[in-house]
């Protein structure tokens, strides 16, 4: 009893930890419930089509806004626009109307973000909408229904069709936007672009249509096939695939190897630079460091992934040669983890165990069957049995019985004998009306003779 009271401070500590634990588990519960509710909300919203189009439109706008700094060709602020694949892809995946909405909304938002004027260039928004809608409509003319469902074209045909439709869509969309401005600007409509685009056809072609088309075509030709491929892979990806070691390690390696040099370069570039030599040294250092990191990452990742595979391969080789130990097979079977390499090892281990066990059983039986019979011992045993004084009695009786049974009797005699005795045999409740044809042949056939 005393010891029990002594332990009260411990009890106190215990109760504190209990409170902490309860609080922690409550927090976990609340967070998990909240995140689950958010997930459910997102899923419900995603099921609403307009929400999807808005999301894609925002994506298009953000992408255009982020990439607006690139100014390689001298087009007004929107030079490289990788974002144009978004409306085209949405159109191809969900139909012309969705493509139009995303293109139109995206350009509207982009104009708002860049020029702070969403409606000033509404004809370009319409043109972008057409760029999203026309490829989808064209594709459906070619018999290609919404892209992510059942597909008629496969392999290179698929990408060729996407290219063709996308390019034609860009052509139509940009042509619309560039040339509609001519009559509109002539009729005193006030566009921002009326200042840069004079009202003649030739100038509109050279200064509005062609630069816009060039920019979009570039993105379409390069990005559309890549994005289509990526989308397809993503649509085929299931939750279980994320267990994959290959996926995880490759992702890790690529992300790490890609972010490091970019990060380093960014640091160097942002820092005020003094001399050209210093820049060159820093760039060289970045290059070397990046290569080093890439090599190390590749090595580490590859080894992590291939080591379990090599283990299985070695085990398979050992098994082929009949050298795989039972303990090794057990180790393989109990490999921890649920990635594909771990699973391969587990499955292989289980298989090896079964095969080894069966093989051992087989070998024991074969060995048993190979043992020669000891002829002396055999004769001894036989003689011992025959030496039994009762054997003679048995043999005499056996000979008598055999003779009695083998004696062939005329049918009539046999029948008579049966007739008198059969009843006694059947009295113990046997089934008398045997329907057996074979057994009854003698009785039925011989009755007239008798």
């Amino acid at each position: 009893m005393r010891g029990y009271f002594d332990s009260s401070p411990k009890l106190n500590r215990f109760s504190i930890s209990l409170i902490q634990q309860t609080a922690a588990s409550l927090a976990v519960l609340v967070i998990s419930q909240l995140s689950r509710a958010l997930m459910r909300l997102a899923q419900a919203l995603w099921r609403l089509h307009w929400f999807r189009w808005v999301c894609f439109g925002v994506l298009y706008a953000l992408w255009s806004w982020i990439s607006r700094f690139a100014n390689l060709l001298g087009t007004s602020d929107v030079d490289v626009r990788p974002g144009v694949v978004v409306p085209i892809l949405v159109g191809l995946s969900y139909g012309p109307r969705a493509g139009f909405l995303v293109g139109w909304l995206g350009n509207l938002l982009t104009d708002q973000l860049i020029y702070n004027d969403a409606l000033g260039n509404w004809h370009w928004s319409l043109g972008n909408g057409l760029m999203g809608a026309v490829p989808a409509w064209l594709a459906s003319r070619f018999g290609q229904a919404p892209w992510l469902g059942q597909e008629r074209y496969r392999g290179w045909q698929r990408y060729l069709l996407a290219w063709l439709c996308g390019s034609l869509g860009a052509l139509v969309g940009m042509a619309f936007a560039a040339f509609i401005a001519i009559p509109l600007c002539q009729s005193q409509q006030q566009f921002a672009s009326c200042e840069v685009v004079p009202t003649t056809f030739a100038v509109a072609l050279r200064q509005a249509f062609w630069p816009a088309l060039r920019v979009n075509l570039l993105s379409i030709l390069v990005l559309l096939p890549i994005t289509l491929l990526a989308l397809r892979s993503f649509s085929e990806l299931t939750l279980a695939d994320w267990r994959s070691d290959a996926l995880r390690y490759t992702l890790m390696a690529v992300v790490w190897a890609a972010t490091l040099p970019i990060g380093l370069t960014a640091v160097f570039v942002l820092e005020p630079i003094q001399t050209t030599l210093l820049i060159e040294i820093r760039l060289l250092a970045t290059l070397l460091l990046s290569v080093f990191v890439a090599v190390v990452t590749a090595l580490v990742v590859t080894l992590r992934f291939t080591k379990p595979l090599l283990r299985v391969i070695r085990a398979a080789q050992a098994m082929t040669g009949g050298r795989l130990a039972l303990t090794d097979a057990q180790d393989l079977r109990t490999t921890p983890g649920n990635s594909e390499s771990a699973e391969l090892a587990q499955v292989f281990g289980a298989m090896a165990l079964t095969v080894i066990e069966r093989e051992q059983k087989y070998q024991t039986t074969i060995k048993a069957l190979q043992v020669e019979i000891d002829e002396t011992l055999r004769q001894q045993q036989v003689q011992a049995i025959l030496a039994n004084p009762r054997i003679n009695d048995l043999q005499t009786e056996a000979t008598r019985l055999r003779a009695a049974l083998k004696k062939r009797k005329p049918v009539a005699e046999a029948d008579n004998a049966d007739g008198s005795n059969a009843e006694t045999a059947y009295t113990d409740g046997g089934n008398t009306d045997s329907s057996n044809a074979k057994a009854d042949h003698t009785e039925t056939d011989s009755t007239p003779e008798a």
């Binding site: 048993a368 190979q370 019979i373 048995l394 009695a404 006694t424 057996n436």
Partner: protein
């Protein structure tokens, strides 16, 4: 069949089923074989002469209470011979499927402890066994008499071997059984048994049939009549009734059927 062949009564064939050790499936082979013969329209008698450890009645679903008179009592002279045969035809055909069955006469050994002790202690004369076989052949007119013997070389087993036309020796493919089978073959030769058939029972699935046949033949200089593969199904079925009725298309059943066919094809001895 013409009248001329009917001039003589068909004689009974006595088939004794032996094994060196227990548990090789003697009772299973005996009764399933009997059932397959009954299904082909023959009159078959089965004698459970394994007096010290009877088991055949279980396969036919007989409860001890249903067997008031048995071979054991007859050997002790406690009952009449006609009391110890039980018509088990209905137990050996599957439901109503069998339209034209033969007949199965079953002569059990007593499952009661007291009877077993009494017979084993008291002994009996061989002539009593003789009477049983003769009665089955002549009065019950069994075309096949199958004797399920006690494992090893007990007196009744030796007698069964002496009187049999076909000695079926069941064995498992292992060393001990091979030697015991070798001794049994020598004895069968000594007693002029016409046919000695080896039935390898409970062969492991992994062992190829050719391999088993070759090895056994090499050691015993005898053809193997059948290789019956031991199977999880059979194991699970245990001794609950006749396996061949429950699984007529199972490999084990089909192989036993071939054996039955071979018995039927056997010329008059």
């Amino acid at each position: 069949m013409t009248n001329s062949t009917l001039n003589t009564e068909p004689t009974s064939k006595i088939i004794s089923v032996h094994s060196f050790r227990g548990g090789t499936g003697k009772s299973n082979v005996s009764l399933n074989l009997a059932a397959l013969l009954v299904a082909r329209g023959y009159r078959v008698g089965v004698v459970d002469s394994d007096i010290p450890s009877p088991g055949a009645h279980v396969l036919l679903g007989f409860l001890p209470d249903q067997l008031p008179y048995t071979l054991s009592q007859f050997l002790l002279g406690k009952c009449q011979i006609e009391q110890i045969f039980y018509d088990a035809t209905r137990r050996a055909v599957f439901g109503e499927q069998q339209t034209n069955p033969g007949q199965l006469w079953f002569c059990p050994a007593s499952p009661r402890e007291a009877d077993i002790v009494e017979v084993v202690r008291g002994g009996y004369t061989v002539n009593r066994f003789s009477e049983v076989f003769e009665y089955m052949a002549k009065q019950l007119r069994c075309q096949y008499i199958i004797i399920d013997t006690h494992p090893g070389v007990a007196e009744e087993s030796v007698f069964a071997l002496m009187v049999s036309d076909v000695a079926l020796i069941t064995l498992r493919p292992d060393q001990q059984d091979l030697f015991g089978t070798a001794v049994a073959i020598s004895l069968a030769e000594q007693f002029n048994v016409q046919q000695t058939w080896l039935v390898v029972n409970n062969a492991s699935e992994r062992l190829a049939e050719q391999e088993i046949r070759f090895r056994v033949q090499q050691r015993l200089a005898r053809q193997v009549a059948a290789v019956l593969y031991f199977d999880a199904d059979l194991h699970a079925w245990g001794s609950e009734g006749l396996f061949s009725l429950r699984y007529p298309d199972h490999d084990w059943t089909l192989r036993l059927e071939q054996l039955a066919e071979r018995l039927i094809q056997l010329p008059e001895l």
